[in-house]
Symmetry: C2
Subunit: 209 residues, 2 copies
């Protein structure tokens, strides 16, 4: 099974590496790291990945994973090559998935029209404007499309997908090996749980990027 992990400039690294770690450990999956061009791709906090395939070189992957970005508003305007590839590759893919604001790119490619989908909480309204039935959930499976909420939700999506692709025991084994027994030191991981002053700060930051 060919998995396309999509890379683009200013993407958020953890959006991709969460599901990658859960999925690519399975020997049945052949991971590809696709971008417009071969070579270095810089994430939004400086980490550099290396693309090993171009979009043209991988037209029919079985599984697609699209990460989001803190620069998602501008990327939505400047990602024509990625969006065109998504629109062309989705019909033959078994699973098309996104983490965080990656859902806005799926929506722009026409993949989420009227479908229930989730995204980073800061992008929910724009996702609805782009035609999706935007919902407040961690992971949504709708037919062959799976979307996850912001950044770290990709870990939960990755395990959910492993259970769909193989079985529950495989996902439980991957969870054990990645020691995914989360113990966050605080409990502010959603706008419903965080103090309003922090929610406002996050909104201001998002508008300033």
């Amino acid at each position: 099974m060919d998995a396309a992990f999509v890379l683009y400039e200013q993407m958020t690294a953890l959006d991709l590496v969460g599901p990658y770690e859960m999925l690519a450990a399975n020997p049945e999956i052949t991971p590809h790291f696709v971008a417009e061009r071969h070579g270095p791709v810089r994430a939004d906090s400086g980490l550099q990945f290396n693309a090993t395939a171009t979009f043209n070189e991988l037209p029919r992957p079985d599984l697609i994973v699209v990460p989001g970005s803190s620069h998602w508003r501008s990327i939505l305007e400047s990602s024509d090559a990625l969006v065109a590839w998504l629109a062309a590759a989705h019909p033959t893919a078994t699973w098309t998935t996104s983490v965080c604001t990656g859902a806005t790119l799926l929506a722009k490619a026409g993949i989420l029209n009227g479908r229930p989908a989730t995204t980073h909480w800061l992008a929910r309204e724009v996702l609805a404007d782009l035609g999706a039935d935007a919902r407040v959930e961690r992971v949504i499976i709708d037919g062959d499309v799976v979307t996850a909420a912001g950044v770290s939700a990709g870990l939960d999506m990755g395990l959910t997908l492993v259970a769909e692709l193989f079985d529950d025991d495989r996902a439980k084994l991957i969870q054990l090996v990645t020691e995914y027994d989360p113990q966050p030191p605080f409990d502010t991981g959603s706008p419903e749980k965080a103090p309003a002053v922090l929610v406002d700060l996050a909104r201001q930051f998002d508008q300033s990027v």
Copy 2:
């Protein structure tokens, strides 16, 4: 503040990217991605990073993050350059940290002698053999050394460190922005919680790598 995110062949990507995502988003932190050589470094499930500095080019970072690997037993034997750099860089660093089996590299560098430390559950006995006071905890802060349990524990360590470096509100903001409100689909993230048959499978896999 110069942060050294250590890269090496066959490392586990999420070990590094978890704390990176929590730490490098802070404007006070300048991230560096250090390895023996500049250029591509391949993680254990195929993802390639790009090293932007050599160990020689970054002798005195303020913060060091060392990831683990599924190939940790052989890496412990073949990582002399990394271990020598760690031993030399640790005395002037404000924080020296590890995720997963990265703790065994800290121990080999003489940094964990008699100190309480945690690691991937599969590496606990070896960590004790290397001189650490190996404990069953998610994140341990002992003076200027912070260790985390396996793979995904790096997210919890990253947030814990942000609170230490700045304050609780900063960590809470990062948790909100990364939407770290974990909802794993199963509850098998530790050997105490997983079925014995899966714990045995994980042990067999670890011994076979």
